[in-house]
Subunit: 348 residues, 2 copies
Amino acid sequence: MGEFELIRQFFTRPGATTGAGVVLGVGDDCALLQPAPGMHMAISTDMLVQGRHFFADVDPRTLGHKALAVNLSDLAACGARPVAFTLALALPQADPAWLGPFAQGLFALADAHACTLVGGDTTRGPLTICITVFGEVPGSHGQSQALLRSGAQVGDDVYVSGTLGDAHLALLALQGKLPTGLVLPPAVLAQARQRLEQPTPRVALGLALRGIATAAADVSDGLLGDLGHILERSGAGMPFGLGATLNTTIATSLIAACAHSTRAKGTFDSQIPATLALRCVLSGGDDYELVFTAPPARQAQVLAAAAQAATPVTCIGRIEAQPGLRLVDANGAPVPHNLASFDHFASE
Amino acid sequence: MGEFELIRQFFTRPGATTGAGVVLGVGDDCALLQPAPGMHMAISTDMLVQGRHFFADVDPRTLGHKALAVNLSDLAACGARPVAFTLALALPQADPAWLGPFAQGLFALADAHACTLVGGDTTRGPLTICITVFGEVPGSHGQSQALLRSGAQVGDDVYVSGTLGDAHLALLALQGKLPTGLVLPPAVLAQARQRLEQPTPRVALGLALRGIATAAADVSDGLLGDLGHILERSGAGMPFGLGATLNTTIATSLIAACAHSTRAKGTFDSQIPATLALRCVLSGGDDYELVFTAPPARQAQVLAAAAQAATPVTCIGRIEAQPGLRLVDANGAPVPHNLASFDHFASE
């Protein structure tokens, strides 16, 4: 199969140039988008590399889903409505048995968000997927309604959506890196693995939080790291940014597999230790939930937005003027920690 | 060096968020662009893979240049003005001795085109560069002034910019694939290698050809293949598209190294055979010149546009209703050929 046949067979779809805002799609030197009047275009790009972001034997359907999901998650964090995406793909070979399900997983998620594939590039090489997404967010004259990392204020509540830590728990299990003696029950592993391989971008929540949240980021590298970006970029004029205190008891409750395991522990031969759950929740990464801030006075609006988006949110802490991230238990006592977020170039 | 330190040190620049049309640059979940009123956004993405698109020992400065140049070339082919780009980079390691010159080569070309880096992604992996570029082209309500592949008309002249084939000649030389006994003089190789490693995107020509050229594409996979895309997509309602006849004598004269070698052949011990020159020019690829069409009545306008852009153009043939590409010599006699354009997934 040649390059152009590959594109025609798997990545060209009838009507694909008729998406809202899409003037010209796949097939020319460039795609053409026309942002609606009064709209800024939000752009994000993520590259997934085999052996780094996914296992070689991953189901191509879930990989197609995840490759787009991690990009839509960035649009969600900005409160942008998805419009279109480009796909650059390096493949060891043009294998229809792989490309078919990959494209199915990709387009199922794209269709669910009315996000049109408008262009791309295919080449031979080590399996690598680079998607760039385009979304719309109201704005004009340099003023944007986008949710940014830089808007958190002292006294704001810190929220996270959904659950955290399950993806990392699955990763540890699949890598054989769980603590000795800990075996995840199959149902728990399946649930956690679903989170690792098919994350749900919180697009509806991001849209609903426009004008309510003061700052937002998606949790891709780990909660502490991604909240850390908000703290660094907020607090204009403060040399070390802002700080926050998080309640670890609440945070740890957010690991769904753990809760599941705890609830049903009578039937399981193992239970996830609290320290492992804490590590998965706070520094695991790959969750693709949103972490965001809002003033306590807007709590009702936050909860209404969450209900509108059918996405649970939990308040786990508060923004403070003192720089740094502090963890406390249910009684307010400090919890020592030595957790870092994921860094692709940190020493291993 | 960590991921964020790498981004800060090599890919974050003062004032980088102040480019025209850029509302928010590097550092948040998304970048924000604001297309000017009455403008469509042209988008293209290209992925370069080590061992496929460049040699492992290539000068990182020229690689930084080329990675952006091949994308700007797509904007040029559409007649779009460059605005911004994103960079996704997989690196085996964070090596400042490599990243420094790579960033220098990248930003030197970006600055020359006022094209702002607005975001990206870095990860560990086999060296892979994926750039997505954004440009502006006038348009509204689905009507665009972009140069498309689909607008060629029967009777149009076929033009190419600059010279063709030198990049492929250099590639053959560097791969040791030149015909036995043929050794390129060092000056010829250096000139050809410059074309391979540091192509010049024809942005000014693309802009000048808006409203004059009926169709355009950039020559990346080889002239026959890229002109073939124009022929396929033009001729609406014709099942096999349009055709063209090209004058091989004129085409072959476009290989600069060949001309150089021929001119100075008294001092060289070898000369590039005409069949090799023809192959390099017609199917070599990696030229990043423009191939475009325009009615004979607009010849003066084409030449004026070329002069305005300080870019030579040559008429090499004519669009015809009969599908297929035909080659003729200076006397109009058919030249048989068996040339294909580059295909990443063709059998090797």
